[in-house]
Amino acid sequence: MKLCFADLHVHTALSPCADDEMTPPRIVERALAEGLAMIAVCDHNTTGNAAAVQMAAERATVEAAVERADAKAAAGRTAATGTPSGDGLTVIAGMEVTSVEECHVVGLFPDAAAAAAAGAEVTGLLPAAGEGYAEFFGEQHLLAADGTRCGAEPAALATATPLDVGAVVALVHRHGGLAVAAHVDRRSFGVVGQLGVFPAEAGFDAVEVSRHVTAGSPKLAEHAAFGLPLLRSSDSHTLDTLGSARTALRVAAPTFAELALALRGAEGRSVAVA
């Protein structure tokens, strides 16, 4: 088992409220600079940019490997310093779904295809963005792996779905995903703020705390009382906050399957608020 760090709640420029600088290459660059082994792309009610960020991460890994090989060949002796380690970045395809009670639920999916299927189902429930929408809520940029804009999402992503919390969790599970109660410490859009008490019957796999709850904070015990593993994520909408809250993973490798095992505390794996 090895220790690595994850930020499992990051938005791209597809989320209307996120900054335009949240493009696949810049998110990957920032995550690597922050020393993260894993991030999860979780836009509001869509998975439209998740595969592009995954592709950008793969490209960055290949480019780093080529750079290292070149440097090694050029130097002809010791390995060059200053290049990133070859571990790369794992990008989990996720989505932050808004329930009918206006609770935010993060779904983390095993691969891009499962995420896309779940995303299509959720986005399909939303009304069209319509005239003047972007002016009030922001642009919804669909991006390619290199950051090029390839279109705008036509659905109103800032709208709540008609699904209640339990139905959102069930949808995530139906697509093989893990369901996380997003930023439970926050007054707005957290399940506790919206529903008064934690909905134990909904079947969440984990609980997320925001960057405002630090390791060692007495608040943590309160959230741990829900009896689920705790994640700490940045929910970043801008590059400068990416990685500002993180989860320590003790896993064999930074993969979705290992994350799922770590949430269950299987065979020496674990997650912890970092």
Binding site: G193, L195, V197, P199
Partner: protein, 117 residues
């Protein structure tokens, strides 16, 4: 005003009838909110809650806040599980087509005031 008076005056749909204690009680306070944590913190005991939330937690929160009844506004209706829980808890439930603003205004006109009025 008792719950029966209010239900009759506002033509509310009775989903779960009040129990005998509630039926005899005067309702003088009300609260309107869809944030259940806010309801928990601020709704007046013995009062009525107007909300759009039909989640199961409404019943738990209403019980905790010692409310007399919940009125679901805007034509929203809770599912059977929520209704059954309200029956267990002895909490009266009503539905109405009017939106929150409208129903709160009509309650106020009947003499039901806010928690701080």
């Amino acid at each position: 005003m008792t719950l029966d008076d209010i239900a009759r005056e506002l033509e509310l749909v009775e989903l779960v009838p009040p129990n005998e204690v509630e039926r005899a009680a005067e309702v003088t306070r009300g609260y309107a909110s869809d944030l259940l944590s806010d309801v928990l913190a601020h709704a007046p005991a013995g009062g009525v809650l107007v909300t759009l939330q039909v989640h199961l937690n409404v019943i738990a929160v209403a019980g905790h806040a010692d409310l007399a009844a919940v009125i679901f506004a805007g034509g929203r209706r809770p599912d059977d599980e929520v209704v059954a829980k309200a029956v267990d808890e002895g909490l009266a439930l009503y539905g109405c087509e009017a939106d929150t603003f409208e129903i709160a205004g009509r309650l106020y006109a009947l003499g039901v005031k806010g928690s701080r009025a």
